[in-house]
Amino acid sequence: MGELLWNTTRLVLGTVACCVVLGVGAAWLVERSNVPVRRLWHVLLVAPLAVPAFVNSFAWISLLPGLDTYGGALLVVTLSYFPFVYLPVAAAFRGLDPALEETARGLGLSSWAVFRRVHLPQLRVAVLGGSLLIALHLLAEFGALRMLRYPTFTTAIYDQYRATFNGPGATMLAGVLVLLCLLLLLAELRLRGRRGYARTGRGAARPVRPVRLRRLTVPALAALAVLVGLALIVPLASLAYWMVTGSSTALDVPGLVQTTGTTLALAAGAAVLTVALAVPTGWLAVRARGRVTTLLERSTYLGSSVPGIVVALALVTISIRATPWLYQTVPVLLAAYVILFLPRAIVTVRSAVEQSPRLYDDVAASLGSSAPDRLRRVTLPLLAPGLGAGAALVFLAVVTELTATLLLAPTGTTTLATAFWSASAALEYGAAAPYAVIMVLLSAPATVLLSRDARRGLTT
């Protein structure tokens, strides 16, 4: 227990520190310096998000089996998670009012002093938000750390569960883990409440004059290239290598097709269900603002801070005790997906509702339109893009979901993630690679969505 806590803590702190350095540095180069091909770097720096962390650690450990140490875990999860700091910080840099910087320069501050006294205070919220997001993800991370044989709470819970099947040991560990997550969630909510202050410089109309790197251009390019190389090229190259090596043995095409079909069907079902549940909550949170509705909306965020393994364990327990006929069936699996990914859908639905203000309802009413008629002709058409985006986010999250699926999927049902997992656990790297490639390809669109809309909260 003590060792688990120490392992988890030092991994979280180390990863957050590394991610902050990499994320802020890369964001500054891309958004504030004149480094060549900035747009391309931006895409490349977000792209690692398309590679699920457990696929990334598979790629590394299959090439370098010696990575099963603290250092190895730190390296791999940092490379997977630094975009969570990079994205909000880059957006914050973009939102900074150039007038503030010019004023500071006018007052005689040097470049370094401008960064320290003007930029950093305004980036604080973005950096903290990204750090909390990484910490939460790390507490929930199972696949990557298990693959790297680095024990944390989450992997220990899984081992306990497999060994003793739902024993009190797993429950107690889960309790501690949830407590840690709730602490982080509280920190996030407090931060979210204060976000307004950091936004004062938003909507900068004038383009910023980038800082000239001059002789530092080559080192800067080299640094970005190394980062992208480690975070993106290595995993992709490793996957390609195993694809080629594996195809020489046997590529199980029918199995691949069937697994992909199962995964897509589950993801589509979960997406529709989750968005349908998100609409009333998102609607109430905007249109009927009050304590109860805020509480209702916030309570759904709990799901995003509770690790998948805890949600899965809870559902296993409930379904065995209360509804044995539901244990290991698709409805329970879908319920887990809904609990885990409802916040993502609510955030998009909510912002869509915010873009369809009451005014349109009032105007339509003054034109003689009845309530159902208004819903059909005004409200739903205005919400449609937001609902679609929410469904897409949930869909893509389900495609790469591993932990809850491992525990809850009906016997004989395999998804891309679980098929990949069992193949790589059996050290059949060549057989595992095709599933990983399909997951990466399916995740790419979500990455595009993320790179466009970066100022999201932790829970998205």
Binding site: L359, Y360, D362, V363, A364, A365, S366, L367, G368, S369, S370, R377, V378, P381, L382
Partner: protein, 360 residues
């Protein structure tokens, strides 16, 4: 088209009263401007009339039909009242044509002729029908919003600060087009504005709201010339307010002896201390002559079509005069002030009471 009658309307949000005992009558086919500073309750009044909110007490009638009263509230969609919100509020997912035909019965919605007719009514080209709202300028959006409100032939049209988001040139053009469209349809209209020039120029009658109360309801000329008190006077235009002593129908003040007209209750002009209201365009400057009211030009603000001249008076006060033409004096010149027209007399400032309170 119908008249609008509002009686004793009261509305509070939580414990804050927003409207207190408002009475308003808008004759059929006329345009009434609701004028007041921000926060005076004018938009709330509009929303109550439209049926988006319910009043705490009082009644609203369109023609003979009570749409809101004790124990009765007709839903907004059954009131037949058109609404043009601030900045237009066009449905962003619908084309201009679909916006305009939104309130028409289903079989009329595809009638391109009706849409073209309405576009023409608000002075827009029929070619805009297929555009999306974001492809229109602010003024065009306002006009489309008006066409949309007029399409179902409502008995009354409400416009909520329709021109406030437009820049000056576009504002005049849009105002003319809207006024023309309202006149052409003979629509009864209520327009909310905080711009006194807009209210005076476009409306048949102006209702001045202040602190949730209706302080004056009259036609624009009367409002400008005979405001009910000095606050209204200053709100609807520039005002020159001077202390005076009234004797036998003549106001004696620093600008000389002026023919006076009593603004307070009762017909007779009481003798004694008072304040008089003049408009800057009532002051004229002549070469300095002994006997006339002397003044020294402090500053001249040149506007092109006319100028405002700031004048220091011998008693230490300052007044401004609005002069057209080319012969505007230079700063530092000594001139005499002549007043044309009648000074409007208001009760004296309650200076002693206020002064004592401030001193205490």
């Amino acid at each position: 088209m119908s008249s609008l009658t509002v009686e004793d309307l009261t509305k509070s949000f939580a414990t804050t009263p927003v409207l207190t005992g408002v009475d308003l009558h808008v004759p059929s086919g006329s345009l009434t401007a609701l004028l007041g500073p921000s926060g005076c309750g004018k938009t709330t009044l509009l929303r109550l009339i439209a049926g988006f909110d319910d009043p705490d007490s009082g009644s609203i009638a369109v023609g003979d039909r009570v749409v809101s009263g004790p124990g009765r509230s007709v839903a907004a969609r059954r009131r037949g009242i058109g609404f043009v919100p601030q900045e237009g509020g066009l449905f962003p997912h619908l084309s201009v044509a679909a916006n305009i035909s939104f309130g028409l019965p289903r079989r009329q919605r595809r009638d391109g002729g009706r849409v073209r007719e309405l576009l023409g009514l608000v002075g827009l080209d029929a070619g805009l029908a297929d555009r999306a709202p974001h492809q229109l300028s602010g003024g065009q959006q306002q006009r489309v919003a008006l066409a949309r409100a007029l399409a179902p032939e409502p008995s009354l049209v409400l416009l909520d600060e329709p021109f406030s988001s437009l820049d000056a040139g576009l504002r005049d053009e849009t105002r003319l087009a809207v006024a023309a469209a309202l006149t052409a349809t003979g629509a009864t209209a209520v327009l909310v504005t905080h711009d006194q020039a807009e209210a005076l120029s476009i409306a048949d009658q102006v209702a001045v709201l202040r602190g949730g109360r209706l302080v004056q309801l009259t036609d624009p000329r009367t409002l400008y010339r005979r405001p009910t008190d000095l606050d209204v006077a200053a709100f609807v235009g520039e005002a020159v307010v001077l202390d005076a002593d009234v004797r036998a129908g003549v106001a004696h003040c620093v600008l000389g002896d002026l023919p006076a007209e009593w603004a307070g209750p009762g017909a007779a002009l009481p003798d004694g201390p008072a304040r008089v209201l003049l408009r800057p365009e009532q002051l004229r400057l002549v070469a300095a002559v002994p006997g006339a009211a002397p003044a020294r030009v402090r500053r001249v603000d040149f506007y092109g079509h006319d100028s405002r001249v700031w004048l220091d008076l011998p008693d230490g006060g300052t007044v401004s005069a609005r002069l057209d033409g080319a012969d505007v004096p230079a700063a530092g010149e000594d001139v005499s002030i002549a007043v044309r027209g009648v000074a409007r007399v208001f009760p004296p400032r309650p200076v002693d009471v206020a002064g004592a309170a401030a001193a205490g």
